[in-house]
Amino acid sequence: MSAVLGTSGERALVCVRGVDKVFRRGDEVLRILHGLDLEVGRGEFLALMGPSGSGKSTLLNLIGGLDRPTRGEIMIGGERIDRLADRKLAEWRGRHVGLVFQFYNLLPVLSAQRNVELPLLLTPLARARRRRQAAIALSMVGLSHRVNHYPRQLSGGEQQRVGIARAIVTDPTLLLCDEPTGDLDRKSGDEILGLLQALNRDHGKTIIMVTHDPHASARATRVVHLDKGQLSAEATA
């Protein structure tokens, strides 16, 4: 088991303890994570780095409740999410996690406004309130003038801003970003990183970002490296 990497346990929002993740592909057994421990404090901006196949995205999926560990515990805000039933886990994701994807994952048939509104369909908010909240989220990412545009009418950077607006519209506890600048040019990538930094600094959002780009990780408050399924090193910005 690797050493526990993180902040003081009391302030930790994310606690990953002794996590293994094994995939089976036919007869082949792929051990992606080995006894991994990690803590992430509230208000941290953590960059998770490592080479391809090191298990970064797998770890992010486990923290986001998109997948389950083969062994070990994952506690978010004091709740053991690895023990939640599928339906409860989906509800938990809707309430507590904002996801930002490398390829944006916007729905092409919906406008920016409607894309951002999607997670709010899981809340008891009335339609007018949902629209207002989506408009606020879009203004926070600087896209007030693009609310009625469809994804195909937006640049890559703008699409990722819509993706971030969608991730923050429910005011989640945790923002998980999987290579958020991986599909963008340097200028657009910098703008997205600046936006994430602002969300962390000005709004206190806890962010975990998977990246293999040192330029991107430099914006984080803490960087951890993952190699062959284990955390190997850490640096604080």
Binding site: L66, R93, L99, L107
Partner: protein, 398 residues
């Protein structure tokens, strides 16, 4: 309440996404819709034969008319009694009267062969011998061209259905049947009922032509009211001079339509069911393709917190929409093409042709669309389950 509203909003958002991408899979989607439309079209077409036949038989009957046949006879074909019996029957209570006396019509029924206009092949046509009182008993019958036949002469009047279906039945033409010649002097209608498939002549002339002596096969009696039937039957069936059975005319025709209706309905349902199996596989293929093409979108919804139930319902909704369109097209085409279409088929009870119009009823259309939705449901349920159980993390990378 708001929870349900939100769940419906989730399903709505996902269904909208699915439907808006149908055209990206237009090949399989259109094939599925046409497959389902074909099933409904065949279902509606075949069953409209049965419905049309039954309707013709049902409207032929009048609850105020009683039919008297020899006991043990299921049809007129099997019945016979002498002329004296007709007088005894006419004395029974409950019979309506006109200036000419009791409204009772003794009838004779023979089958002749005539070529069909459509194929030229011979088919059986009923030639019915009646007396003048038959027009008072069967008051739906009315001359629409020419005039009534004259008693004692070799004249006939032809039902409009028979005139449409069989060659040579033209006003003023002479009909050659065996050694006999009959002049066609009029056409008649009977509210679309069975008599329209018949040729009528004077019963006495027909008795002579076919050497039947003073015999008849049935007696129709118009009753003072439909309620008079019970007493009428009771008296006649108890009369020791007669050996008859009495049925209401409506019941007789409903019974006559039963065999053909069952055969046609069974055939239609069987053919449609076999086609439906193929259509289900088409729908399955389309919906599996749809789920496969939208794997990442579905995974995104799931990642955002949408439940598996909403995913399932949205896939099913898409499948049902395709089925509904297909069913609507099939039903609509069936109505336009087949409703009112003139046809003729064998009445197995009388071994004669019955001309009728195919009848695409609202019930048939409803049944066709319901069947289409069933195909959509079965075709959608397995892909829906697959969509709902996609591993989210893996599907996001698709």
């Amino acid at each position: 309440m708001r929870g349900w509203a939100n769940w419906i909003s989730q399903v709505g958002a996902m269904t909208r996404m699915g439907l808006s991408t149908v055209m990206e899979r237009k090949g399989s989607s259109v094939a599925t819709m046409f497959g389902i439309a074909g099933v409904v079209l065949v279902f509606v077409a075949v069953l409209s034969i049965g419905e049309g036949f039954r309707r013709t038989m049902v409207v032929s009957g009048d609850p105020g008319v009683a039919m008297v046949m020899r006991a043990g006879s299921d049809t007129e074909m099997m019945s016979i009694f002498g002329g004296r019996s007709v007088h005894w029957i006419a004395d029974a209570p409950g019979i309506a009267r006109s200036d000419q006396g009791p409204l009772v019509s003794a009838q004779l029924f023979v089958i002749i062969n005539l070529p069909k206009r459509s194929s030229g092949t011979d088919a059986n046509v009923p030639l019915r011998g009646v007396d003048a009182r038959a027009f008072g008993v069967s008051d739906a019958v009315r001359i629409v061209a020419g005039r009534r036949f004259q008693p004692g002469r070799g004249e006939v009047i032809v039902g409009v259905g028979a005139a449409r279906a069989f060659a040579g039945l033209d006003l003023g033409a002479t009909l050659h049947v065996g050694r006999h010649q009959w002049k066609i002097v009029g056409f008649f209608e009977a509210n679309g009922g069975l008599p329209e498939s018949e040729i009528w002549t004077d019963a006495v002339v027909l008795q002579g032509a076919y050497e039947r002596g003073n015999s008849y096969q049935s007696v129709l009696a118009r009753l003072q009211s439909p309620e008079a039937f019970g007493r009428f039957r009771e008296v006649l069936e108890a009369d020791p001079r007669l050996n008859v059975k009495v049925v209401r005319q409506t019941d007789y025709f409903i019974e006559q339509s039963r065999t053909v209706y069952r055969v046609v309905t069974g055939l239609g349902v069987t053919i449609a069911a076999l086609m439906a199996v193929g259509a289900v596989f088409g729908a399955l293929n389309t919906m599996y393709t749809a789920v496969s093409a939208r794997t990442r979108e579905i995974a995104t919804f799931r990642a955002l917190g949408f439940g598996g139930g909403a995913v399932m319902v949205s896939v099913l909704a898409e499948s049902l929409c395709l089925a509904l369109i297909g069913g609507g097209v099939g039903g609509g085409l069936g109505y336009v093409i087949f409703d009112g279409f003139q046809a003729a088929t064998m009445n197995w009870q009388s071994f004669s042709q019955v001309a009728f119009q195919l009848d695409v009823t609202p019930g048939l259309l409803f049944g066709g669309v319901a069947g289409a939705l069933m195909i959509g449901l079965i075709g959608g349920v397995f892909p829906a389950v697959r969509a709902a159980s996609l591993p989210v993390a893996m599907a996001l990378r698709a």
